[in-house]
Amino acid sequence: MADNQSADLAELREHARALATGLAGPLKRVRVRSGDLVVEVEWQPAGGGPAAGAAPAPGPAAVAAGEVADEGAGEGLLVTSPMVGTFYRSPEPGAAPFVDVGDTVKPGQAVAIVEAMKLLNPIVCEHHGVVAAILVDNGKPVEFGQPLLRVVPESPDERV
């Protein structure tokens, strides 16, 4: 059985690798146990502590831009790019940015622009909350699904 067990382990590893490749969102851990053929997958928590309300990173996080996706990890919700294009923080060169870290945002508010084919596409926030991080530098290229901002949700009542 020794040969077969080694084969089993190898199979499980391949399985784990395939899982890691195929799953969306930043994975925290893929565990493989040989004894009882167990595969466990754990995602990156959105927050550091045991915050029950923390949402996991959304599916279409950018895999090819790993260094940016990593920065997206943290408390809050991610605002992702709906298209390939160039990220701008302000409506025009020299103007003040739409938002800064610490700003409060509300649903429907423009928080950035992604330019594609010379069209300026406003990026609109869908939540009430506070901007916790701006994840892309002004003027940098972004791809579809790439996290742009992290917003920590806040109920609108709290803001009144």
């Binding site: 279409p60 895999v63 390939v84 084919m117 791809e143 579809f144 790439q146």
Partner: protein, 455 residues
Amino acid sequence: MFSKVLIANRGEIAVRVARTCREMGISSVGVYSTPDRDQRLLRHFDEAIHIGPAPARNSYMSIPAVIEAALQAGAEAIHPGYGFLSEDPDFAEICAEAGLVFIGPRPATLTELGDKSTARRLMRDAGLPLLPGSIEPVATLAQARLLAAEVGYPIIVKAVAGGGGKGMEIVAGPHDLAPAYRRATAAARAVFGDDRIYLERYLDGARHVEVQVLFDAQGNGIHLGTRDCSVQRRHQKLIEEGPAPALAPETLAAMEGEAVRAAGAIGYTGAGTFEFLVDEDERFYFMEINARIQVEHPVTEAITGVDLVREQLLVAAGYPLALTQEQVATNGAAVECRVNGEDPERDFVPTAGTLDTFLPPGGSFTRIDTHAMAGYAVSPHYDSLIAKVITWAPSRDQALNRMDRALAEFQVGGRGVRTTIPFLRRVIADPEFRKAAHNTALVERIQAAAKESGT
């Protein structure tokens, strides 16, 4: 030569183009939609950009997404593969405006050839034999009636903006013309957003034979022999082979020569295919031009040794053709089988699912072009092609034996997934096909026989 090329496609053709880029020392930029995000696939590209969600119109057919990705990556040219944006004149023009080389014919050529009516007129003027029928679109049912009577039944009604067999209607006699005219017009409007139709004599029992041509930007052109694609199911090719079998060498030479002459006459550039119908007396008639690399191009590569994607890249970069017609010799015979995720027993309905098993064939003169592998999920969002198997041998008979061997050892499957492999093997075993005495009616006959025998 380009130092970086973006490949605006997915699946096997994206992998295939990336391979040639690597072999030429060109960096390749892949693009992918969300369900195509798989590192094992993306390993074929030097970099890859996520361009959109699953629906092709928002990813692989989104001109802004593709152009932006190319500009971001610093690509100098875009290879469009087949399908998607490959024959879209607007896309070709926008590439040019953005300073990107579109790897294909000039936009004006794509416009002309995309309009079947214009294409027919151009080819008639270039002296290609056409089936009797209309050059200008048929404006009214009454006009259609007159023309059909003149041409003689059966006739076929086609969309001017069409191609690839979509929305065609065969009309056996005058009684059937009115409903067929209405159906074809409605289908053309629905599918192509252009309800213009034209009609021509319908050839029963014909072979589908095509000529591969290749032109540089300086106007030099050659052909790379013929392919027979008569094994079709509702105008969708299942098996292609080359050179076209069972035709007189004079017939093949005449088609090849005419195709090169006509392509030259319209100032064609890049790789292209001239499709002909060939009747039982070996008379041939122009059908359409495919202004792109085709699914079945490996057949031509196998018999000529020429890498067609390499040639596309070279002529797009402005190099004059290095090959002369005299240097292109075809050798032996090649066959391509399309292994689709379709259920031949349920009229080839597409089947999606994850491939538990994927053991491709190997061995001598057995080429596999695929993006699939064990654990790969066949997506319902895209076409059902899982893999192409191409075999070559000194003779057609040996190439078919090799194909049957290759298909027999190809293990591909998963829950809910059916493939065309059993049907392909049935075609290869068919005595009429073996004798190359078949025509485009072959698949229907085999399907009917299979249904009758309950297998």
